[in-house]
Amino acid sequence: MTASALDFVLAGGLVALGAVLLFSHDLFRSLVLFVVYGLLMAVVWVRLGAPDLALAEAAVGAGVTGALMLAAWHRLPAAGRRAEGVVSGPWALLSGVALAGVAAALIGVLAGLDAQREGGLQQQVLARLPESGVESPVTAVLLNFRGYDTFLELGVLLLAALLVRLGGGADFGLGAKSSSVLRGLADWLAPLLVLTAGYLLWRGGHAPGGAFQAGALLAGAGILLALVYPPGADGRPAGGPRAFARWTQGLRLRGLLSAGFLVFLGVALALLVGGNLLQYPAGWAGALILLIEAAAALSIGAALLVLFMGVAGGREAGAP
């Protein structure tokens, strides 16, 4: 299919946005443009027929990563907010020329590839879909055909949470005095986010959605509550959110973080008794995948929240 004018605008806009955000002299502008870049990317994913990715990109790529970047900006030392510039000299020139050459060569290869390309795995995935225990092809690849990758990816997330926690700043709450209007919004938005997370988790079996998108929403709810209910800030009665934040400390938080990984690992090893690593027995695939996804969504939510707090935590007072 040939590209339309809209595609040229989208692709060109994406590249231009990338160039501007990478070489802007205003760091804050770069960060804001990065969020826009993520959202534009989500539009591209929809255009390319990948709504799962659009959801994940908007929630994780633009949402969580953008929040991380902005949180980091607020904690920069005063001298670190400016001091912009570009390294120049022969090495920079050389790398620029080399990368331009690489880009040209790769586009040349892609153009040659365009004519004669193998079909990929789509046919095989669709043929085996009935055996996979789920109806959504992407979920089938993620949790059945290539479940081993997804399992390890949970390991990567767990490691990152562990490492970010090591740097201190593991305390929840940003110590900020928040607006009562924001609190009002959070009070009814947080339960809605949790509900939507559950919906996305269930929906992942047959349509775009799944554990990662659900986990990102859970993390969003957590971040919102942490912004609004800083521990020990003012005299508001300790409601559910704060009780939950108090409860999830230390051992319980670490347990929550590793629950998804441990459940996945347990299933993988237990299945070795009767078959291969992570080979679901006939008829059990759907139930086991749901079990893994539920545990994984909780852990992903907790891990993303910990990542955010690790970057944003320990900040001095100032209204959000």
Binding site: S179, V181, L182, G184, L185, A319, P320
Partner: protein, 98 residues
């Protein structure tokens, strides 16, 4: 019929977004820009949602679109409030015509 009506609503919404963006670029201070922006978000998006609902003609989709509109409205309202409040605290003074 519904299609044509939907198109009209969507076009009106887009026009409001364009107006809002023009306001964002042209207005003199933070408070007036915020004013332009939130108008576009609430009314413009609402019109686009109505247009889309008419285009699809499915009550379930219309429900979802309504939910989207409500959520965006709630969040943009609160955000506008937070930004304006923070600006006032930092001592940003409203623009006054000379």
């Amino acid at each position: 019929m519904f299609d044509a009506l939907g198109l009209i609503f969507a076009a009106a919404g887009v026009a409001l977004f364009v107006a809002g963006t023009a306001g964002l670029l042209r207005f003199p201070d933070l408070y007036t820009r915020l004013h332009a922006l939130t108008k576009a978000d609430t009314l413009g998006l609402g019109l686009v949602c109505v247009g889309a609902a008419l285009h699809w003609g499915d009550p379930l989709i219309a429900l979802k679109l309504g939910l989207i509109w409500l959520l965006v409205m709630a969040s943009s309202t609160v955000l506008a409030h937070l930004i304006a409040r923070a600006a006032r605290r930092d001592g940003v003074r409203p623009w006054e015509a000379e």
